[in-house]
Amino acid sequence: MSPDDLVVADRLGKRFGGFVIRDVSFRLGAGSMLGLVGANGGGKTTTLRMLAGLLAQDEGEARVLGCDVRCPGKAMRRGVGYMSQRLSLYSDLTVAENLWFRAGLHGLPASSVAKAASRFGLNAELGTRVENLSGGWARRAHFAATLLNEPKLLLLDEPTSGLDAVTRRTIWRWLRDLVGAGHIVIVSTHDLAEAEACPAVLHFIDGRADGPMSPAELIAASGGASLEQAILTLAEGA
């Protein structure tokens, strides 16, 4: 393992009753982005949850920022920002109250809240309860909370699901900026245009993870003409 590999998964696997996810392997250094693509129930969320230390793997090894994901300590948790598909903000609190809560857990000063609000364009919504925000604004607030402490690794589970085109574009601009600043982003997505924007993807099919490879390599491996066609061809052939 190279010291530059900050996230390493080696034949990671998980059994759920009769269903198995196996052979999830990849290495990522600073400033990398990996897209997780494939059908629903293919193992994308499970992989993200294992990397976040929320779920213990049954096979293989994974190290995140030098820590074994089986026993995630505070050091690993400080460096990882996990954003679930469902909104994980307290809906009965305001945006500012949610951000203060996160800042308190990370030991950050109150000024970090104002900084995050400016960065994600949330200044006008700081006093609004999350339950009163539209989906797009709520997702922005979710992003702000996840990125409040500038985590080295971002694990994002379908962060743009159900959002309009403008908000999706904004979020992907943020992701590119983060990667440019040296952060590592692992993002699951069903949107193939988004997947094509990833330098590398891991394709989940029939409980197995193929890759990482570039979207072009995935297209070439399937013999298709586009990423959509490639995924459909591979799914039908599985």
């Binding site: 976040a52 505070k74 948790r77 679930s84 469902r86 909104l87 996160r102």
Partner: protein, 352 residues
Amino acid sequence: MRAVLAVARMEALRLLRSRASLTLLLIVPAIQILLFGYAIHPTAGKIAVAVAGADPSGRVSAAVEREPGLILAGGGLPAGGAEAAVRDGRASVGLELGEDGEIRAVIDASNPALTAGVDGRLWAAYWQMVARRGGVAPLQPALSIAHLFNPDARADWGFLPGLVGVIMMIAMTMLGALSLARERETATWETMLTLPVGPLDVLAGKIAPYVVVGTLQGVVVLGIGAALFGLPLEGSVLALVALMPVFAAAHLVLGYAVAARAASQLEALQGAIGLYLPAMLLSGFFYPFQALPGWARAVGEVFPLAHFIRAARAATLRGAGTAEVLGQGVPIMGFLALMLVVVWAQGRRSRA
């Protein structure tokens, strides 16, 4: 009609697949039947009796041991020992036998449900004794009865101290269960587990506000009991108030343990309700603790409510001191520690 059948079928399927609903429908009634059938015998209370003074041959002590429903809590005690046993809670009835044949009975009336019939039994036993001796009934009976702590045997004084505990138990268990279940239904709990905060810190932070609210609730209920119903606050009420945060925390963590196994807020609520019944029936709130069979008392001892009720009666009616009241906190803290271990183990299992 078809639509009605379709809805009924859907509802029946959901009911059959809901573990919590089935528990509420089947297990809770089964517990009720068992408890009422085997454990709850309010008319056959086992009353602890202490005998002191002039009983050199142990005749009175032996008679107490023979009498169904009575337990000899101490025989052959020196003069004043029986009253002392009642005052410090070792016995519910004390018999002080004088050298001149006079009998002074001292009854702990802080639990009128237990000792309500004692007066009649004492008088019956006294007149039987006089009749057996074949003597003429004295003009002035040689039996006097004193009621300690609750001289008018007020039933409201009997249950008000326990009500403080019951109200706190219901509120804290429900709040604990709903608070965690709500977080688990949304993604906030999962996200919390990925943040740099230890599980004990999360637990301590989550229960802290509720512990304050629960303690305030207990103080308010106690205050209302004193202000509106004249409940005497004879003992170390401060010690009782000091016990309230521990009692509240124990039930909040119990609520978390219930919620950790529940799939929804509804299931968590049903689980909490399922616990109230045995806690109230076996803790001495509805029925005298001493009236329960041994196994039921052993189960009842596990519930913090049984100890809190003892502490509350001691601190209000019985005029007990700080040490006696706080002493009831030890098993409550044991229960809290046990629940913390349960919640911790459930947290570990959820990662597997």
